[in-house]
């Protein structure tokens, strides 16, 4: 059995464009999930009481349904409901956000709840208002505490972008499939793709870890 990795260099540009799309999709859906997750968590914690059950239902439903199912539904079924077709990339961004925002919301909520009540009491004793306390005292500490969890969420996001291949988003996984199918050299192509994904994911995991160790004291009350 022989391996010929020339197939990689032959399709270098094509595969590189896949890496670009993967990273773009990861960064964009990471950002939108984070922003949405913050809003969802704040609604769950401080929103009107009638909204809370709906928020909890949404979060728990996303924890129950596979991301593949959300992506496929968003791309194929949602246009039937809305009458609007979406390009695959946009559908993937939407689907990933719907799914990951629920996880982000749980991280944010846990972070906020982990700040000791004594911190709020101390701020109240100074005469600060509820919103001042949230913005100036609780959130800055909570965000530091959330960092490790955000790190793993980012790495989950990168991994989940690979699932967007099933709705034909031309990211690395999809491009690899294409090259593997054309060249009949799936082992070389998929092994290479593994190394590339590892090279994208490992620094994220480690980098967040190192960064957190340097700032952890800012969140430790």
């Amino acid at each position: 059995m022989e391996f010929d990795f020339a197939v990689i260099t032959d399709h270098a540009r094509f595969l590189a464009s896949g890496v670009g799309v993967s990273l773009l999709l990861a960064v964009l859906s990471g950002a939108t999930s984070l922003a949405t997750g913050f809003i969802v968590a704040l609604l769950r914690l401080y929103g009107p009481p009638w909204l809370k059950p709906a928020v909890v239902l949404y979060i728990d439903s996303m924890r129950a349904i596979p991301v593949l199912v959300v992506l496929v539904w968003t791309f194929f079924a949602l246009p039937i409901v809305t009458g609007l077709t979406m390009p695959p990339f946009f559908a993937a961004l939407l689907g990933l956000t719907i799914h990951l925002a629920a996880y982000a919301a749980e991280i944010v909520r846990a972070g906020i709840e982990s700040v000791r009540p004594g911190q709020t009491r101390a701020a109240l004793a100074l005469g600060m208002s509820r919103s001042q306390i949230l913005l100036r005292i609780v959130l800055p500490q909570a965000i530091v505490r959330m960092l490790p969890a955000f790190g793993s969420l980012l790495s989950i996001t990168i991994k989940d972008t690979a699932i967007a291949s099933v709705i034909a988003v031309p990211e690395l996984m999809r491009q690899s499939e294409t090259v593997a199918g054309q060249s009949f050299q799936p082992i070389e192509v998929y092994t290479f793709a593994m190394l590339v994904y590892f090279a994208m994911l490992f620094p994220v995991t480690r980098g967040v870890d190192l960064f957190y160790r340097r700032v952890a004291h800012l969140g430790r009350s």
């Binding site: 439903s61 129950a64 349904i65 593949l68 959300v70 539904w73 991994k159 699932i163 690899s176 499939e177």
Partner: protein, 219 residues
């Protein structure tokens, strides 16, 4: 837009079989990944140094890969490694087990490491041997930390079984999308698929919450 929800009922047998396969895959994967994860964790903690390095490399590698890629990779590599054709179901099972074993190994390792040194020292000061200390003091405490993580790994695994649909394992996701392709009832079938996953996954997610509350460690 006319909807025909009858299609879901007409294909109930296939859907039920797919659902059974999804559940079977979840149980089978965990049945493999629990003992294997424990072995890898022990190797990582106590084995001869090169073995330790190998175990660490395995865990780090598979935790930093998209599962869907591992599934494809296994699909092409397993036949070559084993020399004979492997069914999609076994291939999917192998890919899932490789992935979940790595996660479980990390869970076990972190659980054991989380027990403070003083606990072992205190046990040995009572005259226990190292093995006794591990069995009677460290592991019972570590389990409290490990169980909640295993529970959420379980739910992730349940959902991740959907990814083996890409190599035509006839589990719930694959079956639903097959029926969709045959009947063109896209909205109905995809919604039915989502609802079945929800019905199965929602109680599991709630159970995880309960376990996490029940075993919350406060020190």
């Amino acid at each position: 837009m006319t909807l025909d929800w009858g299609v879901v009922w007409q294909n109930r047998d296939a859907l039920i079989k797919g659902t059974a396969t999804t559940i079977l895959l979840t149980f089978a994967t965990m049945a493999i990944a629990l003992p294997c994860g424990a072995v890898v964790a022990v190797l990582r903690l106590y084995a001869w140094k090169p073995i330790r390095g190998l175990a660490t490399a395995y865990v780090e590698f598979f935790r930093n890969l998209p599962l869907i890629l591992v599934v494809y990779w296994a699909f092409y590599v397993l036949p070559i490694l084993t020399g004979f054709g492997v069914s999609p179901l076994l291939t999917g099972l192998a890919a899932l087990a490789l992935n979940v074993t790595a996660y479980n190994a990390e869970t076990f390792r972190a659980g054991i490491n989380s027990i403070r040194r003083g606990q072992v020292e205190a046990a040995m000061a009572l005259g226990m041997s190292r093995v006794q200390a591990l069995r009677r003091v460290v592991i019972p405490q570590a389990l409290r930390r490990i169980l909640p993580v295993l529970a959420s790994t379980w739910v992730s695994l349940f959902k991740d079984t959907s990814l083996v649909s890409v190599i035509a394992v006839t589990e719930l996701a694959y079956v639903s999308m097959q029926v969709r392709a045959q009947t063109f009832r896209v909205l109905e079938m995809l919604t039915a698929m989502a609802i079945i996953y929800w019905l199965l996954g929602y109680p599991q997610a709630k159970l995880v919450d309960w376990i996490q509350r029940r075993y919350a460690v406060t020190e």
